[in-house]
């Protein structure tokens, strides 16, 4: 591993640790010394990577958005039907919620709930472009192929992502009676039926 790879690895491990601490203790209660301590590094060393907690918060949302976007991009590159693609995207989202709950949790509980932290440099879609772009490509392809009904982007986006976010939120609250992956088939069908071209 050369120097720049080492640095990138360290940077990613700081973001991953911060994600876990934010999820466990809350964004505001987690301090930079907490993050440094968990990583066994000095606070000074932390600042070599991120100049402030707000900047770290912004970089994490870009990081999670890119991670999710990359997985959806793989789906977009296939010739699968709209119904299959929806199933795959729902699976990706719920699998991430299962395996890396801190990532989705961060999006729902930190990014959406602490807008003041993201008001500068993370306006609108700026820090979530990696994810949003792939969702746009997905919608565009499925309308072009005649499978999904043409409508405003946000009315479709809200139905799809609001639904998934809501389910993961319920999971986080511990109120879902079944494991979240058991909902994948029904939820995928619901989304497809709501968005498909009406006969």
């Amino acid at each position: 591993m050369n120097m720049s790879e080492k640095k990138a690895f360290k940077r990613e491990s700081i973001m991953q640790t911060a994600l876990e601490l934010f999820s466990l203790n809350g964004f505001h209660k987690t301090t930079i010394p907490d993050i440094a301590k968990k990583l066994h590094i000095s606070v000074g060393s932390f600042y070599n990577y991120f100049t402030s907690k707000d900047f770290l918060a912004q970089e994490i949302i870009k990081y999670t958005s890119e991670a999710l976007g990359e997985k959806i991009r793989v789906v977009n590159m296939t010739d699968a039907s709209a119904q299959d693609k929806i199933q795959q995207i729902v699976t990706i989202y719920f699998t991430m919620a299962e395996e890396k709950p801190e990532m989705i949790d961060y999006f729902l509980r930190v990014y959406l709930s602490n807008r003041e932290v993201f008001s500068e440099n993370c306006e609108g879609m700026v820090c979530v472009a990696g994810f949003i772009t792939e969702i746009m490509i997905f919608f565009d392809d499925c309308v072009e192929s005649g499978e999904l009904r043409n409508q405003d982007f946000f009315s479709a986006f809200g139905l799809f992502m609001g639904y998934l976010g809501g389910m993961v939120f319920l999971k986080g609250e511990g109120v879902l009676p079944k494991d979240i992956e058991l909902y994948i088939d029904d939820i995928s069908r619901n989304i497809y039926c709501a968005l498909k071209v009406q006969e």
Binding site: G124, A129, I132, M136, I137, D140, L148, A156
Partner: protein, 298 residues
């Protein structure tokens, strides 16, 4: 005594046409000084040495053939003569063939009447016709509905001076069609920040997002070489209809086709992923200056 310089013999032939290119060229402010470089053998509306009957005989001289209008091999006659036979007689004889307008070049609007049989002379939309190989070495394409008079004069004067003209794969001069109509549009600031105009004829806003403008993916220099030396469609607040493109005319020219709000066609040569990434970021910023009218009156 000095010999007079040789003037190329110019023949303007019309096939299936609305006369739009003829009329467009009449608007050229320097029309007659340009024509002084040529011997006008025949023109649909200007006095010339030969009559239509002479032209129909297929025996008049022709160095430069200007062809206006779509082509059909059989069934379109003038004075009992198949126009296609006239075209081939003079196209074979000419040193240069200029297809003026989208009809003569790609088939254009008249192709809609009989898509199987009507086409441009050398192109059927973007596909080469059976005549392409025969005429390719002397062909210059000037699509547009109509052709811009200064595009035609550029080509004519270059030919008159024996200058070579750099052309693209569809034989369009790169000097004229290397640009998109978007290039030079006065609304570019609004395009950059993804702000649509809310209606036609407004000074503010871009016409690409909702109003159907095809400028970003249409080849032509309408915003570099202005119409009537004054303006262009997009400058006055009307969308570009993509009239120079092989697939012109399309439908719903005043509405941008979108898929879930995403433009179905994006600027020339840019990947959709790259474009959407940029758009998502740009749209996140609200620039106060662009929310106001350019000219605020008392």
């Amino acid at each position: 005594m000095q010999n007079k310089p040789y003037k190329p013999k110019l023949l303007w032939l019309q096939s299936i046409t609305c006369n739009g290119n003829t009329h467009s060229f009449l608007n050229h402010p320097d029309l007659f000084s340009i024509l002084e470089n040529f011997e006008l053998i025949h023109h649909p509306t200007l006095d010339s040495e030969y009559t239509m009957a002479d032209v129909l005989s297929k025996n008049v001289p022709c160095d430069i053939l200007i062809l206006e209008g779509s082509v059909i091999e059989n069934g379109f006659k003038k004075a009992g003569v198949e126009v296609s036979s006239l075209i081939h007689a003079y196209a074979g004889k000419a040193k240069h063939i200029i297809s003026v307008g989208t009809c003569a070049t790609f088939g254009g609007i008249f192709k809609q009447n009989n898509p199987e049989e009507i086409s441009g002379l050398c192109f059927d939309l973007e596909e080469k016709t059976q005549h392409y190989e025969k005429y390719a070495s002397k062909l210059i394409s000037l699509p547009g509905c109509p052709v811009h008079p200064r595009w035609l004069s550029f080509v004519l004067l270059m030919l008159a001076k024996n200058k070579s003209i750099d052309i693209d794969s569809l034989h369009r001069p790169k000097e004229l069609y290397g640009y998109t109509v978007h290039n030079g549009c006065t609304r570019n600031e609004y395009f950059e920040w993804k702000i649509d105009t809310k209606n036609f004829g407004h000074k503010e806003g871009c016409l690409f997002y909702e109003q159907g403008c095809q400028g970003p993916y249409t080849r032509g220099s309408c915003n570099k070489i202005l119409w009537n030396d004054t303006s262009s469609k997009t400058r006055v607040g009307t969308p570009c209809f993509g009239c120079t493109e092989p697939n012109f005319p399309q439908q719903s020219l005043f509405t941008t086709k979108t898929n879930m709000g995403i433009p179905a066609k994006i600027p020339l040569g840019i990947s959709k992923r790259a474009y959407l990434t940029l758009t998502g970021v740009t749209k996140s910023f609200k620039i106060k200056r662009f929310s106001k009218d350019l000219l605020e009156y008392d």
